[in-house]
């Protein structure tokens, strides 16, 4: 099990493994938005929390298809399915590897990129906290989506389509918590909800993921 986590992290950090690219995508979206929206500070700083969350979500989304597709293509997934570890554990490990290589770097980078969007200084802490709290849910939900679409060649866009609606609650509570934090309002409720979603997703979704994987391998 540790072996699988170790291998996945190794593969991610090897050349072409995609580690850091999610981060770069995050950076790029954040840079593009002002080009589209215009350079006015007031507007940018108003939409900054939302854009940061949407960008983080898209960055997480785009690395999802690596979770299972590579293993499926080269036949490793069938072999893992017949190996002496439960598929539920495989699902958890895969989500954990995704979170470590995507979620954590995103949360760390968010404040820096916040500067580009003139994010209110009081919001920096909230952005990091909500991202750390919310990205595990994104990884787990995404792993489920990746398992659903694993048999489909180049299913990347379909995967986005399936997963994005599932991301909506996480996004709403995450961005709302930041905005309330900036406005000095009560943040306990959205933070609690965010934590609840993450806890629930981590506890329950891996079973669904494993079930879906079994169906897909049939």
């Amino acid at each position: 099990m540790i072996a699988l986590l170790h291998r996945d992290l190794l593969l991610a950090t090897r050349a072409g493994g995609g580690f850091g690219l999610g981060l770069v995508f995050f950076l790029i979206v954040v840079v593009l938005v002002p080009f589209g929206v215009g350079p006015e500070t007031a507007i940018l700083s108003r939409i900054a929390p939302g854009i940061l969350w949407v960008a983080a979500l898209l960055a997480a989304l785009l690395s999802l298809d690596r979770i299972f597709a590579l293993d499926h293509e080269d036949g490793s997934l069938s072999l893992l399915a017949t190996a002496p570890i439960p598929l539920e554990a495989v699902a958890v490990i895969k989500a954990a590897a995704h979170w470590l290589t995507t979620g954590v770097p995103l949360a760390i980078a968010a404040p820096v990129l916040g500067v580009l969007l003139h994010l209110d200084p009081s919001a920096f802490g909230f952005v990091v906290v909500t991202l750390l709290l919310g990205t595990p849910a994104l990884s787990v939900i995404g792993t489920f989506g990746a398992a659903l679409t694993v048999g489909i060649r180049r299913g990347g866009l379909l995967l986005s389509l399936i997963v994005l609606p599932l991301y909506v609650p996480t996004l709403i509570f995450g961005a709302e918590a930041v905005r309330r934090g900036v406005d000095g309002q009560d943040t306990a409720t959205p933070l609690l909800m965010l934590g609840g979603i993450t806890a629930g997703a981590v506890a329950l979704l891996p079973f669904a993921t494993a079930a879906v994987l079994r169906m897909n391998l049939r």
Binding site: L21, I28, T41
Partner: protein, 244 residues
């Protein structure tokens, strides 16, 4: 007497030979110029009336910004030489220059941001010059990522060269587009020949030293890193032979 073409020096062996001699001098010169320029600038120049002591940042900011652009231009030239004449050293020099260039870009961005807080009241503004630097930074990242992603070194050299050329055209277009999009806050070029608008001499002279220091440091680092790349290639070839 035979006239030696300049390409002779681009032969890897020859390159290792002459750079071995030049390298210490380049590093030494860089150290001297940087020390003189930065110490002079930091300790022995007066504050500017509007900017106060923050004007001292200029000794880092401007040289780094200059070198960030020049490094890209050097990569462009080296890429062209590789595509036309297929000199391995020039391809490897382009590869070696990218991390140095991206560091310079990063320093220009960081010092600019730190300077911006007291001067403009913000760390970042979507001013054209700042924005073009951000775009340049992205180009550097893409270029380096492409080098890293391809195993075959010659193919990597080919592909990154094309990217460098196409990227340069688009970087120019972005510069124009960004100007059109937002007229900015940033200072004009103060190194222009128009003496009236230039920074006062007190700031100017140490700045020249600092610039010379950055140029030499860039040169030295590119030589050092190119030497490393050449050795890596040779090591690769030797290991492959052993494998046979």
């Amino acid at each position: 007497m035979t006239i030696m073409s300049m390409w002779e020096y681009a032969n890897p062996k020859r390159f290792m030979g002459w750079t071995g001699h030049v390298l210490p001098w380049a590093f030494g010169g860089a150290a001297v110029c940087l020390t003189v320029g930065l110490i002079w600038g930091f300790f022995f120049t007066p504050d500017e009336m509007r900017q106060g002591s923050t004007v001292k940042i200029i000794y880092l900011h401007v040289p780094a910004a200059l070198m960030a652009i020049n490094a890209w231009i050097m990569m462009l030239v080296a890429s062209l030489i590789w595509l036309v004449r297929r000199h391995h050293v020039s391809a490897l020099a382009a590869k070696a220059a990218a991390p140095v260039g991206v560091t310079m870009t990063l320093i220009a961005l960081a010092t600019g941001a730190i300077w911006g807080q007291p001067m403009w009241g913000t760390y970042w503004a979507w001013d054209p010059r700042l924005t073009s630097f951000m775009i340049l930074f992205l180009f550097y990242l893409g270029y380096m990522a492409l080098w890293a992603a391809i195993d075959d070194p010659d193919m990597a050299a080919d592909l990154t060269s094309v990217l460098c050329m196409v990227g340069s055209v688009f970087a120019l277009m972005s510069r124009y587009a960004v100007n059109f999009w937002n007229q900015g806050l940033h200072q004009g070029a103060s190194l222009s020949l128009d003496k009236e608008k230039n920074v006062a001499d007190v700031f100017y002279q140490p700045l020249l030293f600092a610039i010379a220091g950055f140029v030499l440091l860039f040169f030295a680092l590119v030589l050092l890193r190119t030497r490393t790349e050449i050795r890596t290639r040779r090591l690769r070839a030797l290991i492959r032979r052993e494998g046979q």
